[in-house]
């Protein structure tokens, strides 16, 4: 026969916040026994709830989470030495490559000037530097540069898009955020990007950025944006010029 008084004592310490994690585990286990005294049955039900909660698992597998991170290009150790100058140089050279690729796509550059595999590897490496620029404490000019370059990068991966989205939501400079809207418009085929543009409507307070988002979403014919737009109308501080545009866009999208 179990000594339930020990359990009661444990329970009392639990309510005082004095039990350890191990004791709490033990307590929950004890309270699951079938032959509980009546006074402990309610306690058992009360302490049971987290067990179900703990069963909730991430719908994204480890692989899915790792995939965007798995860039083989190890970061060069010189970064600390060279600082941003080096990264800007990389970003600028990416601009050149990106420009060349863009031209290639447009058929202006002969086929033999199409990028080779090594060029693509270099591009990939530079792409990861670009993300670095967006994420760490670069100057406003560097961030604007990075966003401008990212807008024309032929192969944006999930991580770059994420960096752009984060820039759109939270960069402290209005112009950098505006440039991020423009850049993301080039990746409108990704549902994640469309979601982010809608989501950002609820974050931005600068009228210029708000208008850029609304124009962009209207141009995309993004009906999903309507509820968020309607929500904007409830904001009393919304500037008149933005309010007008919101109304117009809602009527166009519906």
């Amino acid at each position: 026969m179990r000594n339930w008084d020990n359990v009661r004592e444990l329970l009392e310490r639990y309510y005082e916040g004095e039990t350890t994690v191990a004791e709490e585990q033990q307590l929950r286990q004890l309270l699951q026994e079938p032959a509980l005294p009546p006074d402990l049955q309610a306690e058992a039900r009360l302490l049971h709830w987290p067990l179900a909660e703990r069963q909730i698992q991430s719908p994204l597998s480890a692989e899915a989470l790792m995939a965007p991170l798995a860039l083989p290009a190890a970061e060069p150790k010189v970064r600390l030495l060279w600082g941003w100058a080096w990264q800007v140089a990389a970003a600028v050279s990416l601009l050149v490559v990106g420009f060349a690729l863009g031209r290639g796509g447009a058929g202006a550059v002969p086929a033999e000037e199409q990028p080779t595999a090594t060029e693509l590897t270099a591009l990939r490496q530079e792409l990861s530097e670009l993300k670095g620029l967006l994420q760490a404490g670069a100057t406003t000019g560097q961030r604007l540069q990075a966003v401008t370059v990212a807008a024309t990068t032929p192969q944006a991966d999930a991580e770059l898009l994420m960096a752009l989205i984060h820039t759109l939501h939270f960069d402290e400079n209005v112009n950098v955020r505006l440039a991020a809207v423009e850049a993301l418009m080039n990746y409108q085929q990704h549902p994640q990007v469309r979601r982010a543009l809608i989501h950002s409507l609820g974050i931005q307070t600068d009228p210029n950025v708000q208008l850029a988002l609304i124009h962009g979403l209207t141009r995309l014919g993004e009906k999903e944006a309507v509820p968020q737009l309607q929500k904007m109308l409830q904001d009393e501080e919304l500037q008149q010029v933005v309010r007008q545009q919101v109304n117009e866009s809602i009527s166009l999208l519906i």
């Binding site: 540069q145 112009n175 423009e182 600068d206 210029n208 208008l211 010029v241």
Partner: protein, 267 residues
């Protein structure tokens, strides 16, 4: 007769005083500090009237035109409204940290200031709330960031890159040259933007105004005004971005306004 003489004397004194003030700028309150190359100087202001001039030296010099020291009876006490500490005796607070020099107002009613900074320093100026005075910057040669709400922004003889945004303060920028170091971007909601560039400046221009017009005398090669976009008006209002290159193209210069005109001129 007598009265006249007195006025005359007074005028003479004022004149002498003015002359003295001009000859001896040391009379105005002044603060100096060495700035290392490429350091970011950040100015956050509420009410002061600021004029920022570049110079060839390596010092930050703050000159208060009409500084009034705190009253004698405030000695040993600290002000409550202004948490920034006046450590320069000019009514401004200067703090150096994380590679930046942060300049803030440290008094309730700051007056006119002339702030002189090394021309190669990076400069960032932010109007912290509505109703502050205007901003004038002259001669900077490096990255220049200005965030204005209502303040009129005048940037004279700057090389860029410049990153300027304003809600309702007009923006006037005269470029001495257009730096190829990085993109420049100027945006406003309800204020006119007037930009003059050297005729030889190389740039990739991205211009847009949602409801305003863009006027220019620059020799632009417009790239996207072809059959595909016969109508520049987008679904949902607003006009498309005009992309044009200037002198064969160069660094990107983006100018966008929501409700006002944009003027782009040759110097």
């Amino acid at each position: 007769m007598y009265k006249n003489k007195k006025t005359h004397l007074l005028m003479k004194h004022t004149f002498l005083f003015l002359l003295l003030a001009l000859a001896l700028p040391g009379l105005a309150q002044e603060y100096k500090q060495r700035i290392t190359a490429d350091q970011l100087i950040k100015i956050q202001y509420h009410k002061a009237e600021l004029r920022i001039e570049a110079h060839k030296g390596n010092e930050l010099i703050i000159q208060a035109r009409d500084y009034e020291a705190p009253p004698e009876r405030a000695k040993g006490l600290r002000p409550l409204y202004n948490t920034a500490v006046d450590n320069t005796n000019t009514g401004m607070s200067v703090e150096s940290k994380d590679g930046q020099v942060l300049i803030r107002e440290a008094m309730a009613n700051p007056g006119q200031y002339l702030i002189r900074v090394p021309e190669n320093a990076r400069l960032s100026i932010e109007q912290m709330n509505w109703g502050g005075n205007n901003i004038e910057v002259i001669g900077m040669r490096n990255e220049l960031e200005v965030k204005s709400k209502t303040a009129e922004v005048r940037l004279m003889d700057v090389s860029g890159p410049v990153i300027v945004n304003s809600t309702s303060g007009d923006i006037t920028i005269r470029f001495s040259e257009l730096s190829q170091k990085g993109p420049s971007m100027i945006s406003s909601v309800a204020s006119e933007i007037d930009i003059s560039l050297p005729a030889s400046a190389k740039a990739e221009l991205h211009l847009s105004s949602v409801v305003g017009e863009i006027y220019t005398d620059l020799d632009l090669k417009v790239q996207n005004k072809d059959g595909k976009e016969a109508s520049l008006t987008y679904l949902g209002g607003g006009q498309s971005t005009i992309k044009a290159s200037l002198n064969g193209g160069g660094s990107t210069l983006t100018v966008r306004s929501t409700s006002s005109n944009i003027y782009l001129r040759k110097r």
